[in-house]
């Protein structure tokens, strides 16, 4: 398999995952705000904080109002992480490798991109938003299902999965980092509405129901952090993503350096007692995990992807 094709597959999966995750956090935030009284509600700013694109946002918008933030996350073409832009990028990555992925997949991703861009107005309006985002999430899941069920499970498939899991792990760490910063005076647990916000953290990852089944204790900081970072069988937990990246890497040639990176991050996760961390320590921990994910991406790119174009390097 050509290195460039591997790279396209990897990014294709990352962009689709990014679009799906973004759709999920916007949905959850909209619900959360309906439950919280004004003054307590953190508003929409944390969503931009999660993407880390605050500078770009502030360059183009006056304030972190709902309309502005939702537009930025859903349809702003200047923002590489917006749903519409991410899906356009996914489609572009797919275009050159149409003979690698099943034909249905190409048709679906084409249709998904047209839907996201064409129905954007519905997504921006309060009334249409829920249906728009739900459809997006479902269609992204359809894409994953199509690949799983119809594509050769060969090297190319492993790169798709690597892209998906790295993006997902990265997003989970971001959600945890930002949302916990908003609520965590470590000493004083149990402020009013904290509970509801931890629930929404879980819900941003569709983790609430699974948390309930698995943990059987009330929703609170320590167990939630443990669940989303370390749960071995919840497919959006960081540990699960890292483990499945490792399984994929095992099937690829010349994987030594990448496996070393995976091992490092796995040990970091396994060796940290999350409930005991102060907010500052948690923030540091999240940084370390993110650096680990970035280092793993760097190894994957260096081992299997073509060298960057001179143009990219300059940029």
């Amino acid at each position: 398999m050509l290195s460039r094709v591997a790279e396209n597959l990897y990014w294709l999966a990352r962009y689709v995952e990014r679009a799906e995750d973004t759709a999920r956090i916007v949905t959850v935030n909209a619900n959360l705000l309906l439950d919280l009284p004004k003054g307590v509600a953190p508003g929409w700013r944390p969503l931009v904080d999660i993407t880390g694109a605050n500078a770009l946002f502030e360059e183009h918008y006056k304030d972190y109002g709902e309309r502005q933030v939702v537009r930025f996350l859903l349809g702003d073409e200047r923002h590489a992480g917006s749903i519409v832009t991410a899906l356009a990028a996914a489609r572009e990555n797919c275009r050159t490798i149409r003979d690698i992925v099943p034909r249905e997949f190409w048709e679906q991703i084409n249709g998904l991109h047209l839907f996201a861009a064409g129905e954007l107005q519905k997504g921006l309006a309060k009334t249409g938003r829920h249906a728009y985002l739900r459809e997006l999430v479902l269609r992204c899941q359809t894409l994953a299902g199509l690949l799983d069920g119809t594509m050769l499970h060969d090297q190319g498939f492993e790169f798709l999965r690597l892209g998906r899991y790295l993006e997902r792990a990265d997003m989970t760490t971001r959600i945890a980092d930002v949302q916990s910063a908003n609520l965590l005076p470590a000493a004083d647990e149990g402020r009013p509405y904290d509970n509801i916000q931890w629930v929404s953290v879980l819900k941003s990852m569709t983790a609430y129901q699974m948390y309930r089944r698995s943990e059987q204790i009330r929703v609170q900081r320590g167990p939630v952090l443990r669940f989303i970072f370390k749960h071995p069988s919840f497919p959006r937990s960081v540990r699960w993503c890292i483990e499945h990246a490792r399984i994929g890497l095992e099937r690829l040639p010349r994987n030594e350096a990448s496996l070393r990176e995976v091992g490092r991050t796995a040990r970091l996760l396994d060796g940290t007692d999350l409930p005991a961390l102060s907010q500052a320590e948690l923030h540091q921990f999240v940084d370390d995990v993110q650096l680990g994910i970035a280092a793993l991406h760097g190894e994957i790119a260096a081992t299997w992807f073509p060298p960057p174009l001179a143009m990219d390097a300059a940029a």
Binding site: L2, S3, R4, T96, D99, Q155, P306, P307
Partner: protein
């Protein structure tokens, strides 16, 4: 000659009663090609199907009758079905939009096939092989001893002015001595029925994928006619192309690694690059997928590590192929590729420098080139061409510019040329000055009355101008596509067949002698009579 508006009548050609069970059978089973064709206004040009209104060419009677029997409604429905399958199959070409974006457009296609009888085609085929064989000898000579120049058959001055001559290629011996492995020559038929070569494309000719896809679409939407006439198959091309490329491999013992090198997704022919790679089972690569190592071999970056590449079917122009040898700022190419090619470690098709023979002034010398290298007369003539570098020719061109098309040597796409009959007096005088200043850079040709083929316009058939681009493959042996890509100017009176400017295409049928002699409708009528007799 008129370039536009050449049809006096402009009636819609819809006959009142022409369905499959219409009046033809009622008239006693004798089918005449009337109805649809009565008002077919093809005078003034050679029509490939009809001699005149209501009169099909000999050998085409049955097809004309069958098309008539289908009737305008059914033909329009088939046309729609064709367009739907083209969309579904994702046959596209890319155009640059005015806003600077890229648009993938579906390929414009007309279902009425263009028909060429096999005996005539065999002669054309022999003529194309002869021509390309001579051109390859010519290119090889230019990069070695230049005997043809020493023998004063080909003027040194023309060679010196050629922008496609690559000094970097002098003395190189490509495998089998072949430079132009894939050639696309454009043919046109004039009023009197003579087929001429209009130009030879020896750099990166495109269009063959559309020829193949057109055939698939026609099989889907006109299956009954197809079965009836059994046009000779075209689907061999990808395997012949692969064999041609594989024959160039520097490591004949191994199974050759053949790749298609594309400039990328934004190239207008990207669809074709992807299509051919897929059909040949070859990797489709971009410049950054390849690198030339210290061993002067070309390698491809794969997930399993570098893999040696033997043959590159490159769809990138010479000048972008290797930034070390040509444009230093090209990011499409592969640094060191020319070095690897010269060392004989990788084959390039077409070879760099092959374009020296696709220059309009060189074209004017092709008859002499064929004579010089093969000692034969050309089987397919050139369009009569005046070489302005010759004083008598220049005088003639200056005097007759109102009747001529004058073209510069090294422009393509219709740039920098003048169509005498369509130009104003002022434009002509201005152009005469240009030609006089630099006569070596110009050639002139009479304006041709390019042939027409019936084409669906709304619900009627009208004549539209066509050309034909066959593809000639050359390696250890030569082969020619069965027919080629027929391009059609869809706008009334237009001669522009380019797909970005309102051109479309048709399937091209090479019909064996005697095929489809009996019209299908006739056959059905007979069958009906027989069954009635039996009943």
């Amino acid at each position: 000659m008129r370039w536009a508006g050449c049809f006096r009548r402009r009636r819609r050609v819809v006959s009142a009663a022409c369905g499959l069970t219409g009046f033809h059978i009622e008239t006693g089973g004798r089918v005449s090609a009337q109805g649809t064709w009565d008002d077919y206004a093809c005078e003034g040009f050679y029509d490939e199907l009809m001699q005149g209104p209501g009169a099909p060419r000999s050998g085409c009677e049955a097809l004309a009758a069958d098309l008539d029997a289908l009737g305008p409604g059914e033909l329009a429905a088939r046309q729609q079905a064709a367009e739907a399958s083209i969309k579904e199959m994702g046959i596209t070409f890319t155009v640059y939009s005015e806003e600077g974006g890229m648009i993938d457009r579906t390929w414009p296609f007309d279902v009425i096939p263009r028909v060429i009888p096999e005996p005539e085609w065999r002669r054309v085929e022999a003529g194309l092989k002869q021509r390309v064989q001579a051109l390859n000898l010519f290119i090889d000579d230019l990069y070695h001893d230049q005997r043809i120049v020493a023998d004063k058959v080909f003027p040194k001055s023309v060679l010196e002015k050629s922008v496609n001559f690559r000094p970097q290629c002098v003395g190189v011996d490509p495998p089998l001595g072949i430079w132009a492995h894939i050639c696309g020559s454009d043919l046109v038929r004039d009023r009197d029925g003579t087929i001429y070569v209009l130009e030879d494309n020896l750099r990166v000719p495109s269009g063959v994928s559309y020829m193949l896809e057109n055939r698939l679409v026609t099989k889907r939407v006109l299956p009954e006619l197809f079965e009836h006439y059994a046009p000779l198959p075209v689907d061999d091309y990808p395997s012949q192309l692969f064999d041609t490329l594989a024959a160039l491999s520097p490591r004949p013992a191994e199974y050759p690694e053949v790749v298609v090198l594309t400039p990328g997704i934004y190239n207008s022919a990207y669809f074709e690059h992807a299509y051919l790679a897929q059909q040949m089972g070859a990797e489709l690569v971009e410049g950054r997928d390849l690198f030339v190592a210290d061993d002067d071999c070309c390698w491809m970056r794969t997930v399993d590590g570098p893999a040696r590449v033997d043959v590159i079917y490159r769809r990138i122009d010479d000048l972008f192929l290797d930034p070390e040898a040509f444009h230093p700022d090209s990011i499409l190419g592969v640094p060191g590729l020319l070095r690897a090619w010269k060392a004989g470690n990788v084959a390039l098709a077409n070879a760099p420098g092959a374009g020296v023979a696709d220059d309009k002034v060189v074209y004017a010398f092709v008859p002499e080139i064929i004579k010089y290298y093969l000692d034969q007369e050309p089987i397919i003539p050139n369009v009569p061409t005046y070489r302005c570098m010759e004083p008598e020719a220049l005088d003639y061109v200056v005097e007759h510019i109102a009747e001529l098309v004058v073209k510069p040597a090294n422009e393509s796409g219709g740039y920098g040329m003048i169509v005498g009959p369509a130009a104003t007096q002022a434009e002509r005088s201005k152009f005469v000055q240009l030609v006089k200043k630099d006569p070596r850079n110009y050639i002139a040709q009479p304006t041709l009355g390019i042939s027409t083929v019936p084409t669906i316009v709304k619900r009627a058939l009208e004549p539209r101008h066509v050309d034909l681009r066959p593809f000639i493959l050359s390696a250890d042996r030569q082969s020619v596509t069965m027919g080629g890509l027929t391009r059609v100017a869809l706008r009334k009176g237009s001669l522009v067949v380019n797909s970005s400017q309102g051109g479309g295409s048709k399937d091209t049928w090479i019909i064996p002698e005697g095929a489809g002699e009996q019209s299908q409708v006739e056959a059905q009528a007979q069958a009906q009579t027989q069954s009635q007799a039996q009943g």
